[in-house]
């Protein structure tokens, strides 16, 4: 037999030995068994799987720090009850009593470690009364009621700047804020008023174009939605649903009169469709709640209708 063949024979038998020696170890480990060399017996064990957000946290089991960081797997645990603690500097600790079952894995894979208070950051740089978040535009708008000034910043409070003032007639404090889809206009709403502010040049308030205030003293405003054309807005009050142009002297077009003062309203911006609930009297004289769908997406027809209605109104 040549030298190569001798080496090959040794390698072959070594491989066979490794396979048969390693297989019981791998299989018992995979199936959740641990070999006890003292008793020469296999013991059933369990597993704890840990994943945290953020990762790299210390793991304590029954108060003892383990030599691992998350994400981690604690293998070969004798079944029973344990107390698990996850700690990461600058974050609140996560503590949980856990019951490890034989040949099973207990998964804690959605742990969020929340930052402790030291991470809280003040965003506003001046006195403010309220704020709104424009997630899509990555902006925060702030309102100072005492001085009637509107500010904006990015989501980290950076680039904090004044963008204009709100007319003094707009009172009380706006309860809601809606920005148009073209991000050119801003609606401020309180119980009886809608104020349209024109934003230009990447979100700055244009002083050249004055703001417009719509007063609805005899109605309670429930909600306001921008139409996708960013020119009309839909006003839902306790009495009716109207559509208005976001311009001075716009004549409201009444779309629906409502019986119910405060009904559920949803507006699908993508399809320009309003869903609302109202009651109607049935043939039996009883009142029934119904859900209605009002499509405002056929822009051409809608605009034609508006023009026609306006002309009628002017006459």
């Amino acid at each position: 037999m040549s030298k190569e063949q001798e080496i090959r024979s040794v390698l072959f038998y070594l491989s066979v030995a490794v396979f048969f020696a390693g297989l019981p170890v791998i299989l018992s480990f995979s199936l959740g068994y641990k070999f006890n060399p003292h008793t020469f017996k296999f013991t059933k064990t369990g597993i704890i799987s840990l994943k945290t957000q953020p990762s790299g946290a210390d793991v304590y089991l029954d108060g003892k720090l383990l030599d691992m960081k998350t994400p981690a797997t604690i293998n070969e645990l004798i079944p029973g009850s344990y107390t698990l603690k996850i700690e990461l500097r600058g974050h609140y600790p996560w503590i949980y009593p856990v019951n490890v079952e034989p040949r099973k894995v207990t998964r804690f894979e959605k742990i969020i470690l929340f930052p402790s208070r030291t991470n809280i950051k003040q965003l506003n740089q001046v006195k403010i009364s309220c704020f709104w978040l424009d997630r899509e535009g990555d902006r925060i708008y702030y309102f100072n009621q005492d001085e009637n000034i509107l500010y904006k910043s990015d989501l980290d409070g950076g680039r904090f700047e004044e963008i204009g003032s709100i007319p003094v007639e707009f009172s009380p404090l706006p309860k809601e804020f809606k920005i148009s889809s073209d991000r050119q206009k801003l609606l401020l709403i309180n119980a009886h008023q809608v104020c349209v502010l024109s934003l230009r040049f990447q979100g700055s308030l244009s002083y050249s174009k004055p703001s417009v205030i719509f007063n609805f003293s005899n109605k309670q405003i429930n909600d306001v939605f921008w139409h996708s054309d960013s020119y009309h807005f839909i006003l839902v009050t306790d009495k009716d649903v109207e559509v208005l142009e976001a311009e001075e002297n716009s004549t409201p077009v009444n779309l629906v009169n409502l019986n119910k003062r405060n009904s559920g309203i949803f507006y699908d911006t993508d399809k320009d469709t309003l869903y609302f609930m109202d009651f109607q009297k049935g043939d039996d004289g009883l009142l029934y709640n119904n859900v209605y769908k009002l499509e405002l997406n056929n822009k051409e027809n809608l605009l034609n209708d508006l023009i026609r209605l306006r002309k009628n109104a002017e006459k």
Partner: protein
């Protein structure tokens, strides 16, 4: 009749086993995922150990190839003295050709013309198929270029439609060998003084090939009871070939190198050499089987009642990488070539049915060789499918119960370990592949060096598409008795 039934039964065995394993594991994954996972873990671990073992053999084979690459074998032969029989030894080289053109044949013949061995000891036979309309013209062209350089140069034309013959390479080679026998008889050269080499049309021999072959033949005990197998590499156009084709062929060379270290299992493959006397004694190559290169070994094995072996020669014969200028066509070509190789599964019914009527070979040897043949083909058909496709099935199909068990948690980790391990091993393969690579041609950019390293990330894709599927396809054909015809791989040097 009974014999036919047994042979048919044996044809069904490999395909049934492969499909049985695949379907069985899928059903287990659905109905008993724990059991399926245990089998997959055993298989994964077996594959890790096997990868280490085979990679070590590959390193050893490479080392041997590297060590022997500068040997002047002809001088070594001459040092053996007059009694060695070198002077009377003749080399008969047969190139069975079908559609291969002059661009393929010319470099092959030129490599023989340029080899370091006396040309007056070499007989070249270019064996054309008569049914190819270009064969006469090609023969004339080659004769005008090469006829005067060798002891004898012969063009043969294998007629189509001979009774009991298939359209196989073996039929053509046999026809050519019989014509060569007539030529040798007329020249008064006995069969035992001739070594026959049957080469694919694109085979370019290394300069020292015939010296190396002569040396091994003269120094082997019972030289007529052995085939002589060089290491096939696919270097002719390896720099021009696309990544996918190149990787597949490098892997094929690696497989052969590994096999060359496992002598008790070593079987002839592709271009190889043997005693012409033995070839005549065993009635030449099979004329109706596709896998003639391996069947010839088994015929000799049976003829010599099990006392026949393959002697590895650590010298290369270089062939063309099969590829096309379209990615999908390359996959198709490679797939067909691998399926043809995998059709070697037809050796199993051939061998076992022959063993049943053979009484001289020890039973243990028969069982060992049969089982190895069966195991190698079944493993070829299922391993990649198990690793890539069935491996994740228990987790996908096992449901919440399985996934909360320890084994459900550990299975993907062990499978991941296997893939990491394979990736580690492939780093060794990348280094080794550089050793058998020819120098980069000037017209090929240096960036190809980088591509040739990065392309190894395609290994998982290749092992599935060109690893198991062609073998499973071939076994399924045999299972249903749909016999394959010899389908030569289209090769051309013009595709760059």
């Amino acid at each position: 009749m009974q014999k036919n039934k047994i042979k048919r039964f044996l044809e069904i065995v490999p395909g049934s086993l492969s499909w049985g394993i695949i379907i069985g594991l899928i059903l287990l994954a659905i109905f008993n995922p724990v059991c399926c996972a245990i089998i997959i873990i055993i298989f994964d671990f077996y594959w890790i150990v096997r990868t280490v073992y085979l990679t070590t053999l590959l390193v050893m084979a490479h080392h041997k190839l590297y060590r022997q690459k500068d040997i002047n074998w002809l001088i070594k032969c001459r040092r053996l003295g007059n009694q060695s029989g070198l002077d009377k030894l003749k080399h008969l080289v047969i190139f069975p050709v079908y559609k291969e053109g002059l661009d393929i044949l010319r470099p092959s013949l030129k490599s023989i013309q340029e080899c370091n061995y006396p040309k007056d000891k070499i007989i070249v036979v270019v064996a054309f198929e008569e049914r190819n309309p270009l064969s006469k013209e090609n023969a004339r062209n080659l004769e005008s270029e090469f006829k005067g350089y060798f002891f004898r140069y012969l063009s043969t034309f294998h007629p189509d439609g001979i009774s009991k013959e298939g359209r196989t390479k073996g039929a053509n080679a046999t026809w050519a060998a019989k014509r060569a026998k007539e030529l040798l008889q007329s020249a008064g050269i006995p069969d035992e003084d001739v070594i026959v080499s049957c080469f694919d049309a694109d085979t370019c021999v290394a300069k020292e090939y015939f010296g190396c072959l002569s040396y091994h033949f003269m120094t082997s005990p019972n030289p007529h009871q052995a085939s002589y197998q060089p290491i096939p590499v696919y270097n002719n156009n390896i720099w021009q070939a696309p990544s996918l084709a190149r990787l597949v062929e490098i892997s094929s060379s690696f497989c052969q190198m590994i096999e060359s270290m496992r002598l008790e299992k070593f079987v002839t493959f592709s271009s190889h050499s043997m005693s012409f006397k033995t070839l005549v004694d065993i009635d030449y190559w099979p004329v109706d089987m596709v896998s003639d290169d391996s069947v010839i070994y088994w015929k000799a094995f049976l003829f010599y009642q099990g006392n026949y072996r393959v002697v590895p020669m650590y010298i290369t014969v270089s062939m063309d990488v099969a590829y096309s200028n379209s990615f999908f066509k390359t996959i198709q070509m490679q797939y067909k070539q691998k399926r043809r190789w995998a059709w070697g599964v037809e050796n199993f019914p051939f061998l076992v049915s022959a063993f049943l009527t053979e009484n001289e070979i020890p039973l243990l040897k028969k069982i060992r060789r049969s089982l190895h043949l069966l195991e190698s083909h079944v493993t070829w058909a299922v391993w990649a499918i198990i690793l890539v496709f069935i491996g994740p099935l228990p987790i996908i199909l096992g449901g919440a119960f399985f996934n909360q068990m320890s084994i459900g948690y550990n299975l993907p980790k062990i499978t991941g370990l296997l893939f990491n391990f394979t990736f580690g091993a492939s780093l060794a393969w990348i280094v080794l592949s550089r050793i058998i690579l020819p120098p980069r041609p000037k017209e090929v950019s240096w960036t190809k060096n980088v591509i040739m390293i990065l392309e190894w990330i395609m290994v998982p894709l290749i092992i599935l598409i060109l690893g198991s599927l062609p073998a499973l396809d071939a076994q399924t054909h045999l299972l249903f008795g749909k016999y394959m015809e010899f389908n030569p791989t289209q090769k051309s040097k013009k595709m760059v």
